[in-house]
Every structure is written in structure tokens, then in C-alpha cells.
């Protein structure tokens, strides 16, 4: 991974709260981590999950509940949330990888809906009101997280850790196998790789890191709500990844920044935002499949005079075309 990228990233992260509103930047970081975790599955394994809000939201509820009701210290609460997402990831993953292709998306969406209804009906989640008033507490017992700068640097540290882990996974031999599965599953299978196991591990890792993002979000905003587990949030994280660039390491981060900023800029437009989000989806799929970072990489490649990649990563699988009319 490029060293300069890290330097720029850390420098930007350190300066950001002095330029922008810290809570806003924290929101950006949480969703950026969520999108990067999601991309580990879609971009590098080629699996489209439409239920990732389940992990994000369940972790947010678990972290909020353990901190608020059981009195867990903040860092332990976030760990609890992450662990819950991990366990949920194991269960969902085991079920979902039993079906291939497009069924995978439908299965994950339906399973996530169970989590949504549990959150809606249970008493500990606060139902429609959500779980409110989660105390931020003190980090390691002495750093007051109610101070927004302290909180910010804690979130930045979590984000950088998560992002480092994802970059590390992608570059590892394990990550290479994932990419092989994405490009050509039968070939990976015939080379002797236990494809199902690799898929499951990728799914659980992605779920766990999404949980880390959700748990952190619950502490930052001091609440967890039904929005966190809703299918619309699952759609949102797909959009972030798509806008930024599926299968690029920094794409989801750029996408998350774009989508979150779009939401905060357009919040006065009410439900027209849904229409705009929908149009963004349509435009991205029809003419902008590489995403922002993907297009930039393509441009760089072209400027250097190297051969272009024919198709974006996620569309690499060849298949019979039904209309070339």
C-alpha cells in the first residue's frame, strides 16, 4: 500500500476537526469504515450483500445497551457491539453462502429484515424511539470523551485501525484468493481452494468491521435507532461503495464522504433526497460503473499510456448475453 496515501490520510485526519464540525467528520469516518468493510465483500470477493445494515445496527444497539444499561466502559461496549456483529455475521454468512449469485443478495436482505423486526418489537431497543442517551464515558478511565476533540481522535484511531486491517487483508495471500474467487469461482475451486470457507471468512470479517463502525457510531451520536438497521441503510452503503468505486481501496471512503455530504447538504429537501439517491444509483449503474476513484485510476492509466481495463472489477465474470441486438 502506498506510503504517501497513508501520510495524506493521517494528515487530513489530524487537521479535519479544526476545519470542519468534528461531529460531522466523525460521522464521515464511521460511514467510511462501514463502506470499506462492505467493499471487502463486494469489491474483493464479488458478493453483493443487501443486509449489511443488520451488522451495523445490531452492533450499535449492543454497544449502546451494554454501555448504558450494564455500565460497560466505552471501549468494552464498542468491543461488545463488534462481537455481536461478528456472531451475527457467522450465522448469516453460513446461511447466505448456501445460495449463489443473485440469491445471495435476496437472502441477506431477508435475514437482515429479521434483525429489523426484532429491533422494532423488542423492549430493550426502545422500539420506534430508539435507544437514547448512551453516555460517551471515559476512555481507559481518564480521557473524557464528552470533549468532542478527544472523541474525535478516538474515532480517528478506530477508523485508521479498521482501514489498515482492510488494506492488509486485501494485500495478503488470503486477499489474493478472494480476488481469484471474484474473478473466476470455478477456477479457484478447481485449484483446490475451499471457496465456501474463504467466502464465509470474508463475510464474517466484513460483518465484524461493519459492526465496529456501527458501535462507534452509537457512542459518537449517543443513540441507536431503527434507521441503523433499516434496509435503506443497507442500500446506502451499497451506494457509497458504488459512487466511490467498487473494488478500489480508497473508493468506498470517497463514496462515503460524497454521500454523507450530499445528505447533509440536501437535508432541507425532505423526501426529494430519496429521489436524488435513486437517480444517483441509476446514473452510477448506467454510465459510471467504475466510480470516482475507479475513473481517476483509469484516467491515470490512460495518461501513462497503459492498456485500459476493459470492465470494472465486479463485472469481470463473463456470461451469456441475451440481447446484442
Amino acid at each position: 500500500m502506498n506510503r504517501w496515501l497513508w501520510i495524506i490520510l493521517i494528515a487530513l485526519g489530524l487537521v479535519a476537526p479544526y476545519v470542519l464540525y468534528p461531529v460531522f467528520v466523525m460521522k464521515l469516518l464511521c460511514f467510511a469504515l462501514f463502506a470499506c468493510a462492505f467493499n471487502l465483500l463486494l469489491g474483493y470477493t464479488g458478493l453483493l450483500s443487501f443486509g449489511h445494515a443488520a451488522f451495523f445496527g445490531a452492533a450499535a444497539y449492543a454497544a449502546g445497551h451494554s454501555i448504558k444499561v450494564w455500565g460497560f466502559p466505552t471501549e468494552l461496549g464498542i468491543l461488545t457491539g463488534t462481537l455481536v456483529a461478528c456472531l451475527l455475521g457467522v450465522v448469516f454468512g453460513k446461511l447466505a453462502i448456501r445460495r449463489q449469485g443473485i440469491y445471495f443478495a435476496m437472502v441477506t436482505l431477508a435475514l437482515a429484515q429479521i434483525v429489523y423486526f426484532v429491533a422494532l418489537k423488542s423492549s430493550f431497543t426502545g422500539g420506534e424511539d430508539g435507544l437514547q442517551g448512551v453516555p460517551r464515558g471515559r476512555l481507559l478511565g481518564f480521557i473524557d470523551l464528552n470533549d468532542s476533540l478527544n472523541m474525535y481522535y478516538f474515532v480517528l484511531a478506530i477508523f485508521l485501525f479498521g482501514f489498515w486491517l482492510i488494506a492488509r487483508i486485501v494485500d495478503s495471500p488470503f486477499g489474493q484468493v478472494l480476488k481469484a474467487i471474484r474473478e473466476n469461482e470455478p477456477r479457484a475451486l478447481s485449484l483446490g481452494y475451499d471457496v465456501s470457507r474463504f467466502k464465509l471468512i470474508a463475510f464474517v470479517l466484513s460483518a465484524t468491521l461493519s459492526g465496529l463502525a456501527g458501535a462507534t457510531k452509537a457512542v459518537v451520536f449517543q443513540f441507536a435507532s431503527l434507521t441503523d438497521v433499516n434496509w435503506a441503510t443497507s442500500g446506502e452503503v451499497v451506494l457509497m461503495t458504488l459512487v466511490g468505486g467498487v473494488g478500489t481501496i480508497t473508493g468506498p471512503m470517497v463514496g462515503a464522504f460524497t454521500v454523507v455530504s450530499l445528505h447533509s447538504r440536501l437535508s432541507w429537501m425532505g423526501s426529494w433526497v430519496t429521489v436524488i439517491v435513486g437517480i444517483t444509483f441509476i446514473v452510477c449503474v448506467l454510465v459510471f460503473r467504475r466510480g470516482i476513484v475507479g475513473e481517476l485510476q483509469e484516467l491515470l492509466r490512460r495518461l501513462r499510456g497503459r492498456p485500459t481495463r476493459a470492465r470494472p472489477a465486479a463485472a469481470a465474470q463473463p456470461q451469456a448475453t441475451k440481447r446484442e441486438a
Binding site: R99, M106, A110, I114, F117, V275, T280, K322
Partner: protein, 300 residues
């Protein structure tokens, strides 16, 4: 347990109503998937559009076009709303879906998800998300009928019988007619069918129109039962996805049977264990995945 057999029977029958809608929607999804290789996320939105077409046709359309006396009644809506939505589907296919040919499945899902969001967002702007009741239920369908073991609302019985007929007709069309044979051949090998002189792109477009028209028809039938709301399709489509996973998209009759069965089970759950009624379909899906990963009627 103090749950009477009769209560179970009543809820089971009421659940069948829902089941028939599941069947109609999953039928459309299966036909579209067979030929277009696209899982149509916008299916729920087109169902919602069908219900709104009926509502607007009755209460607002006349005012919009300067003919305040014009009211499109329920029977006309049953014919016109699916036609209108079907035409819209043709338009969507020709302008957008067509351009996805040869790409991975997931782009179709994402594109239609975008379409669903646009439609849903548009209606949320102008109509209450809590729902508007449809005032045009035909008078002859008011009241109840005595089925011997229970009293059943006339309209619900009509909707049930009507949607079952539509399902069976679709099954007949696809499994027993020449057109259906071409359609099935197109699913297996489009290039070969094209080589035999059949206009496959046209066939694909019409299939999409037919599929979403079916969804709209379900929407019109649902309008007098449930209130018409911009979110009615979004909630339904996720359940229908689960139905499709359970049944598998391979068989038309399988889709019908699965839809009806799950609707009934969902209804019965409302009596036996109410808290689980909204999740029971998803739980059954999880069990089916464990026991029979390819789905009840699936072939993978």
C-alpha cells in the same frame, strides 16, 4: 392453549389473500428473471404504482385534466392500471435495462433498486406515508358471504379468486401455449431462438412489461383491502424475495404454491404467536436454506 380452531381457519383464509399477492409478484419476478437475468427490485414499487393508479384515477385524474366528472371506477382500474404500468415498464426496459445486457446480475438489481427509490420518493412527497384509503370498492362486493364454516368479506373472496385465476392463466400461458414455449426457449438459449427468426429483444421488453403489469394488477386488487401508501411496495418486496428464495425461480407452479402457502402460514402465525407474524417467512427461509439450499422447487 386457548386458540380456537376457528380463529386459525379465519386467519388462514385472510392470509391466503396476502399469499395470492405474493404468488402474483413472485410469478412476475420469476418470468422477468428467466428472460432478462435481472432481479427486479422495482417490483414492489410497480405494485405500489398500480394501487396509486387506481386511487388517482378515481379521485384526482378528472380534476387534473379538467373533467371533474371523470372517475375511473374499480373495474376499469383493474384493466387500465396494469396496462399503464406495463407501458411504463416497457419504457424502463427500453431506456435503461436494455443497456445492462452482458453485465453482471448485480447491476440489474442495483439499477432497479434506484428506480424503486425514485418512485417511492416521488409519491412520498405528495401522499401521506400513513396511507390513504381507496374509496371505490364496488358496492356489489360489500358485505360478507357465508362459507359454511365462517363469514368471509365478499371483496376479499373476490380478490382471492380473481388473483388465483390470473395466476393459473399465467401458468397456462407459459406452460401450455406456443408463446409460452418461445418464452421458455428464450430463457434456455436466446441466441438459438433469435436464429429461428423470433424477435428476442421485443420478447424481452414485452416480458418485462407483462411482469410489472402483473405487479400493478396485484396493487389494484390490494387497494381496497389495505390503505394505499408510498411504502406499501417496499415492505412487500422483501417478503416476496424471501418467497422466491424459498420456492426457487425455476417453476411457475412452484411460485404460486409457495406464495399461497406462505401467506396462509403468516396468517395462522398471527393467531398462534403474534410477535413472529412479520418474521415467520424469513425464518422459514432460513430453515429451507439449511435443509434444501436450492429451494423447494429449485434446480441449481
Amino acid at each position: 392453549m386457548d386458540i380456537s380452531f376457528k380463529a386459525i381457519l379465519i386467519q388462514g383464509m385472510l392470509g391466503l389473500n396476502n399469499g395470492a399477492f405474493y404468488a402474483m409478484l413472485s410469478l412476475g419476478l420469476a418470468v422477468i428473471f428467466g428472460l432478462l437475468n435481472i432481479v427486479n427490485f422495482a417490483h414492489g414499487a410497480f405494485y405500489m404504482l398500480g394501487a396509486f393508479a387506481a386511487l388517482i384515477g378515481l379521485t384526482q385524474l378528472g380534476g387534473w385534466i379538467g373533467m371533474p366528472d371523470l372517475q375511473i371506477n374499480f373495474w376499469w382500474a383493474l384493466l387500465l392500471a396494469p396496462l399503464f404500468v406495463g407501458l411504463l415498464g416497457v419504457l424502463v426496459d427500453r431506456t435503461m435495462l436494455k443497456r445492462l445486457a452482458g453485465l453482471d446480475h448485480l447491476y440489474g438489481l442495483l439499477l432497479t433498486f434506484g428506480i424503486a427509490l425514485v418512485l417511492q420518493g416521488l409519491f412520498t412527497n405528495y401522499y401521506n406515508t400513513a396511507g390513504t384509503p381507496y374509496p371505490g370498492k364496488p358496492e356489489m362486493l360489500d358485505g360478507v358471504v357465508n362459507l359454511g364454516f365462517m363469514f368471509f368479506p365478499k371483496y376479499r373472496l373476490f380478490a382471492l379468486v380473481f388473483s388465483l385465476l390470473v395466476c393459473l392463466l399465467t401458468w397456462y400461458l407459459i406452460e401450455r401455449t406456443k408463446l409460452g414455449a418461445i418464452l421458455r426457449a428464450g430463457t434456455e438459449n436466446p441466441d438459438l431462438v433469435q436464429a429461428l427468426g423470433i424477435n428476442v429483444p421485443l420478447l424481452i421488453t414485452l416480458t418485462y412489461g407483462f411482469g410489472v403489469g402483473l405487479a400493478a394488477l396485484a396493487g389494484v386488487l390490494a387497494a381496497p383491502i389495505y390503505s394505499v401508501s408510498p411504502l406499501m411496495g417496499a415492505e412487500l418486496i422483501i417478503v416476496v424475495f424471501a418467497v422466491v428464495v424459498i420456492g426457487g425461480m425455476g417453476s411457475i407452479m412452484g411460485a404460486i404454491v409457495t406464495g399461497l402457502g406462505l401467506g396462509m402460514i403468516e396468517g395462522i402465525t398471527k393467531v398462534v404467536y403474534p410477535p413472529a407474524s412479520s418474521t415467520v417467512v424469513f425464518i422459514i427461509m432460513a430453515i429451507v436454506l439449511l435443509v434444501r439450499p436450492a429451494g423447494l422447487f429449485g434446480r441449481e
